[in-house]
Homo-oligomer: 435 residues x 2
Amino acid sequence: MAAVTTSSSHADGDDATRTDLLDSTMAALGQRAKAASRVLAGASSDAKDHALRTAADALVARTEEILAANAEDVATAERDGVSPTVIDRLRLTSARVESMAAGLRQVAGLADPVGEVLDGWVRPNGLRISRVRVPLGVVAIIYENRPNVTSDAAGLCLKSGNAAFLRGSSGAIRSNTVIAAVLRDAIASTGLPADSVILVEDTSREAAVAFMRQRATVDCLIPRGGPSLIRSILENATVPYVIDGDGNCHVYVDVEADLDMARRIIVNAKMQRPSVCNAAETLLVHRDIAAEFLPGAAAALDGVELIADPRAAAHLPGATAADEAAWSTEFLDLRLAVKVVDGLDDAIDHIATYGSGHSEAIITGSVHTADRFTAEVDAAAVLVNASTRFVDGEEFGFGAEIGISTQKLHARGPMGLRELTCVKFIVRGDGQTRG
Amino acid sequence: MAAVTTSSSHADGDDATRTDLLDSTMAALGQRAKAASRVLAGASSDAKDHALRTAADALVARTEEILAANAEDVATAERDGVSPTVIDRLRLTSARVESMAAGLRQVAGLADPVGEVLDGWVRPNGLRISRVRVPLGVVAIIYENRPNVTSDAAGLCLKSGNAAFLRGSSGAIRSNTVIAAVLRDAIASTGLPADSVILVEDTSREAAVAFMRQRATVDCLIPRGGPSLIRSILENATVPYVIDGDGNCHVYVDVEADLDMARRIIVNAKMQRPSVCNAAETLLVHRDIAAEFLPGAAAALDGVELIADPRAAAHLPGATAADEAAWSTEFLDLRLAVKVVDGLDDAIDHIATYGSGHSEAIITGSVHTADRFTAEVDAAAVLVNASTRFVDGEEFGFGAEIGISTQKLHARGPMGLRELTCVKFIVRGDGQTRG
């Protein structure tokens, strides 16, 4: 069984015709996803877990087919002069396919969030109200060149009772198409709908816009990509979405910090994996310990370019001079902005001005200072005496993660299975009418 | 102290200039709301409740001023030939101002949602993680001609620690301006920021669009209005929003229903207050009890125009013939679509096709049928043997309501104080770094 195709290449004629055709093709795919989601919403945990394990086995069994398709994607990327980093993300190996399968088995082993009763109460008139966790329905995911997202996202959606409506990038289309086909075949073989996973094969920009506007069928859109994708969603999407945004994360070293601990934490937060959203981008240091702390910190941050304001630069020979842009840049690299601040208020104000609401850490031994920092800093996660790198679904114990939300509505911070659900009120009476 | 004005009437020159000026004026208002929200986030329940009660007293004390401004709005509306229904919503009286004040006092008496610890756990590495409830920040509300919304929305936002950024309609602008000024004065007199309530006085369409795009400061937008407002938000908004949408609500009378109960419930759901979103719009009747149920129901629905499909019409002499549009129309009036269905599956399919995801009721004595209906119908609220009219913040026991969400993200169903908050992860360690 092939994955689903939205072919619009035969749509010549004017742009409006092409747009209409795209919309109706995309709407038809959405309707199929919606129909599948109604079946999935009622599927037992056993049925979903069996489908996930069957899909895992199928990925491993059909590794050769997957690698052959992936080799074509990689060859195209190399011919097009795509950067080695991007090609590395795109490239699959037997080990990486095994790892995708292991991801599905891990999700099968997690608790099913569907059906949880969040709370319930009885009204004076006898009405019994409960709030229960139910799947969202159709979860749309738009993502870039990592073919493993096809399998990871499909697995999380299936476990949480949602149909996965996927739109990957053109660079990984052959890999994604085969992976989606393998998943669909495997899921269908267990009796759940093949349309539990639908991959949009039209990778044009117009198709992406049509995808963001399927309000009749898409219950939630999660983008996995950079600023231009986010901008496109803000401008074009009519479906509800959860933004997995930037992490311009700060570590503030307070006057009452254990400076050895502070050094270990900033090194970890910056260097352990610089390319990810929960890596630190700015170090804020209290002025009264700057002279004592910064030289040793700089030595420990060996290999990191320091971009310092004048007060920090006084203790950091060789640092680059910071301009205004330094404070708002997510470097995702071995570069770190460093600023000396007058104290807690100054640090909190800096974070309020430049932070992206992702993860913010303070190093301090003072209960009072820690309490104010955690209360006054507005971010998905606020950490005391720990590295920002812990803000992650796995590290939080969620078992798996679909992304990290930097918005406040619906989900904030690491999103696991629970964040792929919503609630429904169930009201039971014995004939009550309103007076 | 006057409420805040965005005057753009002096912006002649080209449209782009006017748009830029509007955006920067609106952004400045948003920044003021954001600054106030930072103070409110740290305000104690006592301080917020004192401000609410002071504001309630001020509304009553300044009733004459409010009524004078309102009389001008009403005179303008009458001169413009606005419908009596709309003028009734617009008109304030001493009793209505008292009722606005009573609303603020009621909100002051509710439990403060801020600071609630939702859950917490310890990771194997010793990190202590908790999830706490915090205010959203700046809540933007765009609404139509009811001046009481100015006070009601401001009160709910203040109690939940949010700044209220309000944009009412031109028809109520004089009333809204005075009410906002009264609230601002009263709040400021208690030591909280006057900018806890900011009313946008530019009621142009362009200002509404600028209002929907203040992503730098607005954390959540809640529209209170009709389909054209919703459409404008879907197309223009870049801020996160919660849609308070239509209610195309169904009552399904099953073959195992107590028919007396079913009759009382459909009469209540349709007739008790036809103009509201949780009123029933379509009655679905199992074919095997249609002949027995429908004539008596029609008699009880005295004064309601019945719009029936052929099988229902057979038992409803004088009914209007239903066309396709009947099933998707929210009448908000003494009109009811009636359809005979083959059974539970047919009823569930009809609701899946035409429902708006608001409130759906079944009347049945069968546990099995009730369980399937509650599991398979996808709506904010699903009711068994009770009127759809109960789906409401007050009736659910929330004490107050900012709206009823028909979307699935963030809030679904009646929204009280809790739905005006979000969560923050607080992570406490003693020097943990990621390996």
